[in-house]
């Protein structure tokens, strides 16, 4: 009897979540799969036919799709790499800080709460060749650098991402650092270990579980990059900054090909899930090794 009452409470607690989750995530996910098997176009909804895997084949044969995968991969790897190392050093510096601690932290973390489109537009004008503060400033020293020029735009987008998301790394890594037990550090100090040695042999290994969680979350999030590209380059120069999310947006919204765009996004979903599972396993492995 008691068991029955408890079961119904569990069910009543879970039911709304299951229903809303299925309706807002599960159903669209299935619907997207259906769309990816059709030739659906917004402009000609009447003659939608099921074409099975044709859209997938078209996607895989599209050199621009592969290029956008490459662009996204380069972006994610560069951005997360810089954000991690910069974030780690900032976290170490913050950990040592004694005065006006909370205020500094609040300020340094601010960028991660700002809507990315605002940051994209802001930097578009700060770095603009004619109107921008930074190019104008550089010009006074006789330097000319076109931040959004060929061969440079993608790296500039990376730097904007670094500006916005290094704080996120700082937040997680600082929490990790402050959670470490003090005794190994005291022992190292007594043994007269150098700061560099302590960092490499004690801090880094002990911080590993937090580092892997931080990199996992940040990498998966960075793959969704859209706003900076939308605000600044729209994929250009040529297709140098055409990321996967922007390319899919363009195909679906500007060219009305929802079927093709759905196939593109489903392929992306498979890639994201594979990477998520690989990284997730590594996170679990480092956690168990602790």
């Amino acid at each position: 009897m008691y068991e029955g009452v408890q079961m119904s409470l569990r069910l009543r607690l879970m039911l709304p979540l299951v229903v809303v989750f299925s309706a807002s995530v599960g159903y669209p996910l299935l619907h997207a799969f259906y769309l990816s098997l059709t030739n659906y176009k917004i402009t000609s909804r009447g003659d939608t036919k099921i074409v099975w895997l044709q859209q997938y084949i078209a996607t895989l044969q599209d050199p621009n799709y592969w290029s956008s995968l490459r662009v996204t991969a380069v972006f994610v790897i560069l951005a997360v790499f810089i954000e991690f190392w910069l974030g780690l050093f900032v976290a170490l510096a913050l950990q040592k800080q004694r005065k006006i601690k909370d205020l500094t932290r609040s300020f340094l973390l601010a960028p991660m709460f700002v809507t990315p489109i605002a940051i994209g537009l802001m930097f578009r004008f700060i770095l603009n060749q004619q109107l921008g503060v930074i190019p104008t400033f550089l010009a006074k020293f006789g330097l000319a650098y076109d931040f959004f020029g060929p061969g440079k735009a993608l790296f500039t987008i990376v730097l904007i991402d670094v500006w916005q998301w290094t704080p996120f790394m700082v937040l997680l890594l600082l929490a990790g650092l402050e959670g470490l037990s003090k005794s190994p550090f005291e022992a190292a100090k007594i043994d007269g270990a150098s700061a560099l040695f302590t960092f490499r042999k004690i801090t880094l290994p002990m911080l590993m579980p937090v580092i892997s969680v931080a990199i996992l979350i940040r990498s998966l999030d960075a793959m969704k990059i859209f706003e900076y590209v939308f605000a600044i380059t729209r994929g250009g120069p040529a297709i140098e900054t055409m990321t996967i999310q922007y390319y899919t947006y363009q195909t679906g919204i500007q060219f009305y090909r929802l079927g093709l765009a759905s196939a593109m996004s489903y392929l992306m979903l498979i890639i994201v899930m594979i990477i998520a599972v690989i990284l997730f396993r590594r996170v679990e492995a480092t956690r168990k090794n602790q």
Binding site: Q6, V25, A118, L121, F226
Partner: protein, 277 residues
């Protein structure tokens, strides 16, 4: 010799670290400073980016009231508020069940985690098609359900972490003391996780408030939310830089203010309890 010694900065790790903090601080503050200046400059003054002292104008701020930024702000706030209310109610019930009874087991936890890494491009096209069929495209309703699709998993994930942190014994003691399950939940568990619920609510609000992708595709015109409105300054009649700066400040200031209260709890929430703080 002795004064020389006083002024010679020693190169230590601490000094390097403080130097790094100062650089980071400047790089964070200066762009915001640029925004504030820009929002008080006239078009001609904006052409000179190095201009620091000038006669401030309120023209840009008047312009954003005329161009519907206020309505967009209101719309964004409504969407975020409704999304968060639903997410908190539904999410906290589910999170409690998942945390205490292992409801749904690994499938539940994994689905909630996976939903957070879903590329938004996967879900947006079905949402678009459905909103066309229901003739809800370009209304706030078209944005609500898509926002639930990412705010609900994040909020639930947050709350699982916070419920996991409440010791089981506390609740069992309450049951021994004669409280019913529901009473124990209301009087013992909820008060302990309420800071977590607050943090989850604020974080969910920020996520919805900041979203461009769904809002841009599902309500690009008459029902533009604030991020979409900000983006529209970029293309509509060339660039209205001053008004854009003012609109960005409207979007940024409330969120920064709210974020100050939740920074510490964010860590536990984002990592689902994996990182304690």
């Amino acid at each position: 010799m002795s004064t020389n010694h006083l002024f010679r900065a020693r190169l230590t790790w601490t000094n390097l670290g403080n130097g790094l903090l100062v650089l980071m601080g400047l790089s964070v503050v200066l762009p915001f400073f640029w925004l504030i200046l820009g929002s008080f400059k006239t078009g001609a003054q904006l052409n000179d980016p190095t201009l620091l002292l000038f006669n401030p104008t309120l023209e840009n701020w008047n312009e954003i009231f005329r161009s519907g930024v206020l309505e967009s702000t209101w719309r964004s706030a409504m969407v975020a508020f409704i999304t968060v209310i639903f997410s908190i109610i539904i999410g906290s019930m589910g999170a409690y069940a998942i945390s205490r009874y292992r409801s749904g087991g690994n499938v539940a936890r994994f689905s909630i985690l996976a939903a957070q890494v879903l590329p938004p491009a996967v879900l947006v096209f079905p949402f678009l098609e459905i909103s066309y069929q229901l003739r809800l495209n370009d209304t706030v309703f078209a944005v609500l359900v898509p926002h639930l699709s990412f705010v609900l998993p994040v909020v639930t994930w947050f709350l699982i972490g916070f419920f996991d942190a409440v010791p089981r014994e506390v609740e069992e003691q309450a049951l021994v003391d004669g409280l019913s399950r529901i009473q124990a939940l209301r009087k013992v568990v909820i008060p302990q996780v309420s800071p977590g619920i607050g943090a989850a609510a604020i974080f969910g609000f920020v996520l919805s408030w900041n979203d461009l992708f769904y809002a841009l595709i599902l309500a690009p015109g008459n029902s533009a939310t604030l991020p979409v409105k900000i983006a529209s300054f970029n293309t509509f009649r060339g660039v209205e830089l001053g008004a854009m700066c003012a609109a960005i400040l409207v979007a940024v200031v409330p969120v920064l203010f709210m974020s100050f209260f939740i920074q510490k709890r964010l860590v536990r929430g984002i990592s689902g309890g994996a990182i304690k703080y």
